[in-house]
Symmetry: D2
Subunit: 179 residues, 4 copies
């Protein structure tokens, strides 16, 4: 029944800030992932979306993985990684932020297109099984977001699929190992 | 294990507003109950507590029962039911609000004492089994409240106890009837 | 030319709070007077009008005389002086507040009628010569209020009229005494 | 007596936005000039300083000349004119904004140094005679700003100095021409 939720497409990132690693949804499988899609010069992102993402990070801590997605679809030359880096510093944003990749000649960045985002800010929430459970453009109230996250946090971690994962680990079939 | 949560004491109310009925926790057993304890002349209640209760009512609708508890522990003569009625009208508060009862010569009202509230505003949340799960004085953020409510809403309704309840209904023992 | 401004009618007050005296516009002649007309159960007064009056008191200090006017025109029994006194204490209002008097059988209080106030909150500003220079219902921005007050503060105090005033003082005609 | 106010140094601007002209304090002599000194990636400028400048523009209209001064003293490469242009567009800033010039190898821009600004946002107000009357770093309340501007607006325009000005106009000596 829950299999009707769409699978979350992988992120296409050219550069990460606030992390030495290279986060991917594949690596984060099993976690509840919150993606705050924003542009640094988008007033609604600065006044609403990013502060909400910071509150989520503060309230839910390690129970969710908060990621920023800088998906520039206008004023490209005005919101370069150099400008973004200063922006993240000045606005005290400490969660990992990835720069959405562009295909040559296409205005809309790749990840933004994959998720069919309608604009910025958008809030995307992905469950432990890697499925999109929330994808909202604009403002969404904290009570609703808190409720949605709690429910996803409480869902069981999916059993690893038998066979070998892309990170090299190989799982044997299990029977209700974490029931 | 969950039995360690304290049972929610019954409310002691002298008069209800915004309802023709006479709500009691006994009648509400099985529901998630949110109690906003306030005083009409408490600035923090007007600026934070009551607006949050209205948002809870709006976002969670029939999934929770929101009740106001007017627990006057100072300026008693200034916050009479007559004044409260005008206040509720002017501030567009539509959920049921009960006036906490007083014992002769005791400043603190009865329900406030039973719940050991530290002041107003206080937010009390009671689970479907009639146990106190949240009891916070002051401000609590919407993300946390939303998460707490979602988890309580998702808990199963307790099976009615065999025997006759105070409302006259008699239940036969059941075996995993709503599992 | 400026004589076209209407003379400010005297206040009709049954009781004052926050002052041992009995302020009147006659006594305040020569001062810039700011009157914040409010009702304690009016949400716009609590969220906008009264905080603005407190800011005026803070910023302009002795350069203006801030007065509150509690002009109850609805829910009369809910906003008695007893309730008002607790309200002023809880909301930390320290400027003098007068209770607008009522004529038997008339809903609108007397001062409110004299000033033809359209509702609460209303901001009335009276110049040093006792004339109404601002009379606004609803919200008015701080920049405009600050500008208006500065201009009135900078107007010269009117020379006392020759003859005896109602407070018993008698002035002799002066010639450009404070030019 | 008023001659103790310091003369406002001329602006050093490399590029203007939102104007086809080339504003200078010399040209604006006779006007009340409000300078909002900001950096586009300064959170306090975005949340407080620039909105206040927009309110000043709205409330005082042609009675004051509002100018923005983009004085970048950190993250220089992140706040280029290209980024600023997009910022002004997204934040709906319509008053003229000049980019403060830099001297080679000096971090602090030239105008910022001339005015000894302590940081951003700073609000500078210049009177009709070209003197600095307000120079505040950080937040300043609207009531105070409104009062200050009203007083400067009401000051008489200075008589043109006898002799020839830099714009080519030549004034003859006058005697109390606009008293």
């Amino acid at each position: 029944m829950q299999s009707t939720y769409p699978a979350a497409p992988e992120l296409a990132i050219t550069r990460w800030f606030n992390t030495a690693g290279n986060p991917s949804l594949a690596n984060l499988r099993g976690e509840v992932v919150v993606i705050e899609a924003f542009q640094m010069l988008c007033p609604g992102c600065v006044s609403h979306g990013l502060p909400q993402a910071k509150r989520i990070q503060l309230v839910f801590g390690n129970d969710v993985a908060v990621l920023g997605l800088h998906c520039v679809f206008e004023h490209h030359e005005a919101m370069t990684p150099v400008s973004l880096e200063a922006f993240l510093h000045e606005y005290r944003i400490t969660f990992p932020v990835g720069v959405d990749a562009h295909q040559d000649g296409v205005t809309l960045p790749i990840t933004m297109g994959r998720y069919q985002l309608q604009g910025t800010p958008s809030l995307v929430v992905i469950d432990r099984a890697g499925r999109i459970r929330l994808n909202v453009f604009g403002q969404v109230d904290d009570l609703s977001v808190g409720a949605a996250l709690a429910r996803l946090i409480d869902e069981p971690r999916p059993e690893p699929e038998a066979g070998c994962r892309r990170d090299g680990g190989c799982a044997v079939p299990t029977e209700a190992s974490d029931a």
